[in-house]
Subunit: 354 residues, 3 copies
């Protein structure tokens, strides 16, 4: 690895003009063979090709490869990269006479998706995804939403089988919550599982901008199969912030860190507009729940297709030590010529004395 970096550095430092032109010409040609969906870099290519160039040699290829590899390495070495803001933080409720009270404010913020890339987000309490709400079946919950957005909004509790007037669909179950207004939801949590809360007004925009969060309901009687050492929520999104896991793109995504022999539960939730088949390297996943309901029997896979609105819960037995890539297998959601990005993270399984 140090070799390749050194070679790239040398190439970039020495600035040998003839080499650079040859590499550029090669790169332009390579780029133009890319998928039909991408626009070929026609202007660059034609300029470069207009200059008569000798056939590329192996040394040219290595030089070009070193440039590309250095970009890939840089991204990986940066992982997990620090960014401002962290979404999906577990929220502690205020207790009011036995009622768990969650106070949320929806407002516009700047959100750092990857180092240096800030986007406009509409967020609950400044987080994308919003704060993680985690309660127990049968709990009484009050959720107070203050709307500081320039649009009306409302919250739908996706997956909870609530009384009709708590369902959060403007003009059907409630009036819209106007800018500046505050609205209170209150209910007894009826069913356990991995659920979500998100806007249900102008939702293609509002959810895309970040008005979403996990609503986890722990069961009164957990099944043996669902017991885990680590319980991890992974929210997938593909709106105007790009391809994200819990509101961040690689290398700013968060690795899951477990010890050898531990059991990790991952609760996948898709808040986007596209499917995302999540692939884990090195170990399989055992699927136990769909939308908060147990599957009739657990089943195994290494690539799990998660469609918009779906939640899937899996258990991973961490039997294989390593830093395992964990990514969407729609490859353009995970990698470009410049390296990995977007929906990529890792499951790190540490040896006892690591």
């Amino acid at each position: 690895m140090s070799d390749s970096t050194a070679a790239t550095d040398t190439l970039l430092r020495t600035g040998n003009r003839r080499d650079f032109l040859r590499v550029s010409a090669f790169t332009a040609v390579a780029a133009s063979t890319l998928s039909a969906c991408a626009k070929p870099a026609a202007d660059v290519a034609s300029t470069a090709l207009a200059v008569p160039v000798k056939p590329l040699t192996l040394a040219d290829h290595i030089a070009a490869a070193n440039v590309m590899d250095a970009m890939h390495e840089k991204g990986i070495k940066a992982f997990p990269a620090k960014t401002e803001g962290k979404g999906n933080q577990l929220m502690q409720p205020r207790l009011d006479n036995g009622v768990k009270v969650y106070e949320l404010t929806a407002s516009e913020v700047q959100w750092e998706v990857e180092p240096g890339r800030r986007v406009t987000a509409w967020a609950y309490n400044g987080q994308v995804p919003g704060p993680q709400i985690r309660v127990r079946e049968g709990d009484r919950v009050r959720l107070v939403l203050k709307n500081e957005l320039p649009e009306s909004t409302a919250i739908h509790f996706h997956g909870l089988e609530l009384p009709f007037d708590q369902d959060g669909v403007p003009f059907i179950t409630q009036p819209p919550i106007k800018p500046g207004a505050t609205y209170t939801y209150e209910f007894v949590v009826p069913n356990s599982g991995s659920h979500m809360y998100h806007s249900h007004l102008n939702a293609a925009k509002q959810v895309g901008l970040g008005l979403l969060g996990a609503f986890i309901v722990e069961p009164k009687q957990p099944r043996a199969i669902e017991k885990s050492d680590i319980d991890y929520v992974m929210v997938l999104n593909d709106g105007s912030h790009g391809y994200t896991l819990n509101g961040k793109g690689f290398p700013a995504t968060e690795p899951i860190v477990a010890k050898l022999g531990q059991k990790v539960r991952v609760r996948f939730m898709n808040e986007g507009m596209m499917i995302h088949p999540m692939h884990l390297h090195g170990m399989h996943m055992t699927v136990i729940d769909k939308d908060g309901w147990p599957q009739p029997a657990p089943w195994k896979c290494d690539t799990l297709n998660i469609a918009p609105g779906e939640r899937w819960d899996v258990i991973i037995n961490c039997t294989n030590p390593g830093t395992w890539a964990f990514h969407c297998h729609i490859l353009p959601h995970a990698e470009t010529e410049h390296g990995m990005f977007g929906m990529v993270t890792a499951l790190i399984v540490q040896k006892p004395n690591a």
Copy 2:
């Protein structure tokens, strides 16, 4: 709700020019923050922004929200909107010596997808989807197709395990049915379940234009789990008519109306080119069949991903009274800034004395 409508009405009636400009400027800015897929309203925004405007106040936001909310409310209040034509109507066969005879004519019609939006459709008997054929396992069926289209066509019975010469693939199992020609299919129905019939010639176009319908085969011995009070077919499509449920877009879609305690069977069928994860509010769905075949064990979900060509049968126990949103959870298939549209309907669960 009356408040917001009143505010909007006032705003629109009074036509206060200064307010309207400010709201327009805001709306343009808001629009430009939309997903990267949509073209930003650059010209509008730049013009608006060229006029120096004071920072928007809460009152401005509310005024803009009222305009948007009024559009959303209008769509919801119009539901279920009347349109000309109804697809998927149960067809009564003519009996000929014990053979159930279905006579279909394929022709070009104008089809009203939503109030006022008429599109060119290629339809069986003037319906999109075509008439619902519902027979019993072991029935002898004759289907006579008259082709009044300007193209050849043929019918494939998707899911039925027919003798080869009834499979409907031109140049493989039969000659194409030319414009003006009539062709007869005849077979004993071999397997039960939720199936489809549709064109299998130039099908990306012909099915997209409407040449499709449900072919339901009731079993000789229904299982206990599949008994229902209401048996509803929901055909999903996303061709040149836009996003539709049974040939109509919201608010012209048809609600499913059940009484509290009833069981509803929904037979999802995807005749489009995209997945559609259908999400039901307020209650879960129990999945019983895939492509007309029983699942090994029923399983529960609230969001069911239906891919092109697939059929999924679910049972809904109507235990929760209300008007429950029932929609594709790819949000751009269900809502715009102007309100809900496309693949949205409702399951209405009525209380005994409602």
Copy 3:
């Protein structure tokens, strides 16, 4: 069929100019009614419509239909069309002290996807998909990769639960394999099932160009349900080569040929970027494995949705004689106005004396 062909031939031979103009005008109009996604042939249509034409008669429609049908027939009659190169060929390993040694060279080749359509491919041993590797659980395997590409690369064994240093992710588990370099993987095969090997560097491009193959691991103890007479791997792809099955588009795809009563196992593998719901005519498929792991109970379908990175194994009991269409049910992946193309093949079930 001979009638239609004759009519088309006559039309094309006689070259009646007035008829041809009328047919062209009709075709232009028909084309402009196509899906909103396609650009209407506006220039052609407007030119054609500028010429005052009499209303089209049935004879005009038939003439136009004959032209279109002839194109469809031509494609079908050409199936299976010969092309240069065949991918997914079973590779015999060299044995070295009990180790099965596979030597692969990655290089750029020209690949004939359909008759006459050659594309640039990056291939293992000149094949797209690369050679099929088929070993047994517990085998020791050595895979030697020589990189003759102009970029670095690496191989990930998708689905195999390997020791970390054999996982093939550059800068995480190994250095990238530079142009001109050779790299050796060696491991004991840990888990059985239908797996894949493919590039994991700049993979959106490299896999799209063809750096992929099947890695089948036969179990030590096969289950009764997985025994089959024919074991067929079907790799789906949708990268820069277009929509392909085992690297070829219809009519150059390969039919599966079975005898009546035989059992066929199909191992679907999606190496593309889109879902592909594969639909079999005439018979159902019994799903037995997901990603190389047994499903808790087999289940039946006729349309199986396969997402990128997924593998699904099915058993087909060949009980129905015929040449059965077998295709992706996203219709634009399988057919255009000019006939079937892309992800279409056939399962041919031969009668005993056929």
